[in-house]
Symmetry: C2
Subunit: 434 residues, 2 copies
């Protein structure tokens, strides 16, 4: 078996105007779908970050991919991920995930690895999770992911989406949004995207979530580095009870030194809420110093930018060895990525938290998976009894996604520009803001 | 596909009277070969430590193995390796590898994992290295492994083997032995088992090896913790030049604190010879403290006792992340283990040293691989273009191995008892001896 065709599909998907400390989500999010087709006509797929830069990085591998044995391809290409153990760490403090040039190679490798595994799985009739060590769970828990947001469901003009969740720029509205998501998908933990309103309002939001959902729903708050050490400690103290029940404080402040300082000060006050990160630690090179400083007690893995499924499994083993928890990062994505996330989570014993997912923010109108959206039931994605990732492409939907990509103005993600365009012409990302 | 048969073969193989700080190798070494046979008649094999305790541990898994999908089996059984990230570290200072009850579960899991991968590889027509991420090398370098030894080729009575290398209890004889091994197999690095003669004689041995083989053949010395910190530093200083060219000082002394002290004192004298270990660090649980102390700069992985191929790959990633080198440990073994070692090495980018192997000490009379001994050419094992591990069992030879097991008196490895029996009735393992 060898790879006879390599197809790259740039697509755009409607995305609601969600807010974070990076700015505002654009009306369309960009994704890339790839297909590796074998000489015997089996197709392996994966989904990754979008935009022209990502397309170019994938395209550059074409000559290495065509003709390759899919079992060996990840070996050939391994220098793309092996570099990441040494050299400079590559924080994403100032860059949205997917736009960091320092992880371009691991992102690109991951897309190829996942599609190769899907192809292999489909050729041997086995689910991907069982190719990479074997599942340790059949159902993978995900978190609800409420955001402050403006009115609107994403898309533009005739292509605008229904605003399923409505505007949410107050604690009360955010709580309603979270409840709506929980009711629809059965999530049993909440990741709340903060760093948007005054810290006291975000504290109030968590307190209301806690009152409404009760102490058995773990709560996490993620202001994407928007706060000073002082503010981080103040929030950590104010929410000691609410975040202390299986939740965490994610990237309250920028930089490993500052994270470590927050941790020290909280511990000194008897507050053991762990700090999580997908900013201070985004590569293996970031880990030694983080361990030394105790900057991060939970690392958010990501099959996309950490370099694929096997690198996530390596990370999990490393995290377990050093007593570090493991959660999973998400970016706006469709069902192919959701399944890749679910499969690696299923085959990673030391995944100690429910995974993040933006999936509730996307719409059936944009889904590229045959048969429509992947079900999330009781907050979980079930590993289906199908080979590979367990999903196939709906080529009509894919064509619509490609068409939207061609029509829309976006070629990379820039939440700051979007914020200036729609909310405040003078807006700048300032870190720390509070 | 499911596993329909699970066969466990205890075998004994002739082993020459090799010396180490543990004592004396017995006339027979014990190994276990397992077969996992699928319902469609494909057989996956692996080889591991021997003796009745190992057999019993494998036998205890029978009900979980029979009927299992080989792709999922390692997932079910993963608690056997997942435990090792936490809890007590498990030094093998006082126990020969294979006789440490604390790694019984990881050893047993590894045997099942390797046989499952061989079965899967044979069923899909792919080499094992390409199932676990893909090869990064087609040829895996091994080291010569000279030992001080008494006269004799191993085996007993009518079953005695030719003494290919002769007695070697002086520096000169050891150098001849190493040269003989290099001439036969083309090894380009040397691992010298020390901890047997006075340290000055062992220093002299390395100096002679260096003079005879030249500065381009990396030299390692491994006294298995026989020395004090003082002696370790003295040897490290005396051999700064000889070990400093890509070689290392392996387990000169017992305990991470002592290893760290040796490292500090050598560095203070400007000697950067790295310390390697398969005693102070034998599990993930040992690593955090070792990193903190800088006790070990090179870890010896082992597909057998570290918990299989994927655990070795996790270890390699961890080692790379922390700037730690990776080499590979060996114990007396036949061709099935050699191929498992070669396949995991082929698919582990961060394997920074040639692997150890005892293979030259074994004889064609004992080989259980169909077609006879696996070739080592230019010091390397080539990954063959065959599915799975690339080897099949010779059932006649296996039956002879089983027969020898039944006949011989050994049921576990005890080098100290052997030493008392053949060399010195009052011998005791004393650490540190010098």
């Amino acid at each position: 078996m060898h790879i006879a065709n390599f197809r790259i599909h740039p697509i755009a998907i409607a995305d609601p105007p969600l807010r974070s400390s990076y700015g505002l989500h654009a009306r369309y999010a960009l994704r890339t779908v790839i297909e590796l087709e074998s000489d015997d006509g089996i197709v392996g797929i994966s989904e990754t970050y979008g935009g022209d830069a990502q397309i170019k990085q994938l395209e550059a591998l074409r000559s290495q991919i065509i003709g390759a044995n899919p079992y060996r391809l990840t070996g050939f290409l391994s220098p793309m991920v092996e570099g990441q153990g040494r050299g400079d760490a590559r924080s994403q403090t100032y860059l949205v995930p997917g736009e960091n040039p320092l992880d371009a190679t691991t992102r690109t490798y991951a897309a190829i690895e996942v599609a190769s595994l899907d192809l292999i799985g489909k050729s041997v009739g086995q689910p991907v999770c069982d190719l990479i060590g074997g599942r340790v769970r059949d159902e993978v828990p995900f978190s609800a992911y409420p955001f402050y947001k403006h009115a609107g469901g994403g898309g533009e003009g005739d292509d605008a989406r229904e605003d399923e969740y409505g505007e949410a720029l107050t604690p009360e509205a955010l709580v309603r949004q979270a409840q709506q998501m929980v009711a629809k998908y059965g999530f049993t933990s909440i990741k709340f995207k903060a760093g948007v309103l005054e810290p006291d309002l975000e504290i109030e939001t968590i307190k209301q979530l806690y009152r409404v959902l009760g102490p058995n729903v773990p709560l996490r708050i993620d202001p994407n580095s928007a706060w000073t050490v002082e503010t981080s400690v103040r929030v950590g103290r104010a929410l000691a009870e609410e975040l202390g029940r299986g939740g965490y404080l994610e990237d309250p402040t920028a930089g490993q030194e500052n994270m470590a300082e927050v941790r020290r000060r909280l511990l000194a006050q008897g507050i053991n809420t762990p700090l999580a990160s997908n900013v201070a630690v985004t590569s293996f090179a970031d880990i030694p110093r983080s361990v030394q400083l105790d900057a991060v007690q939970i690392i958010l893995c990501d099959v996309h930018y950490w370099g694929g499924m096997r690198q996530v499994q390596h990370l999990a083993c490393l995290a377990k060895t050093f007593g570090i928890g493991l959660s999973m990062h998400s970016n706006t994505h469709l069902g192919v990525s959701l399944m890749a996330m679910a499969h690696v989570a299923a085959a990673t014993p030391h995944l100690t938290y429910a995974c993040d997912t933006h999936y509730p923010w996307q719409s059936a109108q944009d889904e590229i998976v045959l048969g429509g959206r992947v079900p999330i039931v009781n907050g979980c994605v079930r590993i289906p009894d199908k080979p590979g990732l367990g999903v196939e492409l709906d080529y009509d939907q894919l064509a619509r996604g490609r068409e939207r990509y061609q029509k829309c103005a976006y070629r990379k993600r820039d939440d700051e520009a979007e914020m200036r365009k729609y909310v405040d012409p003078n807006w700048k990302r300032v870190l720390p803001r509070w």
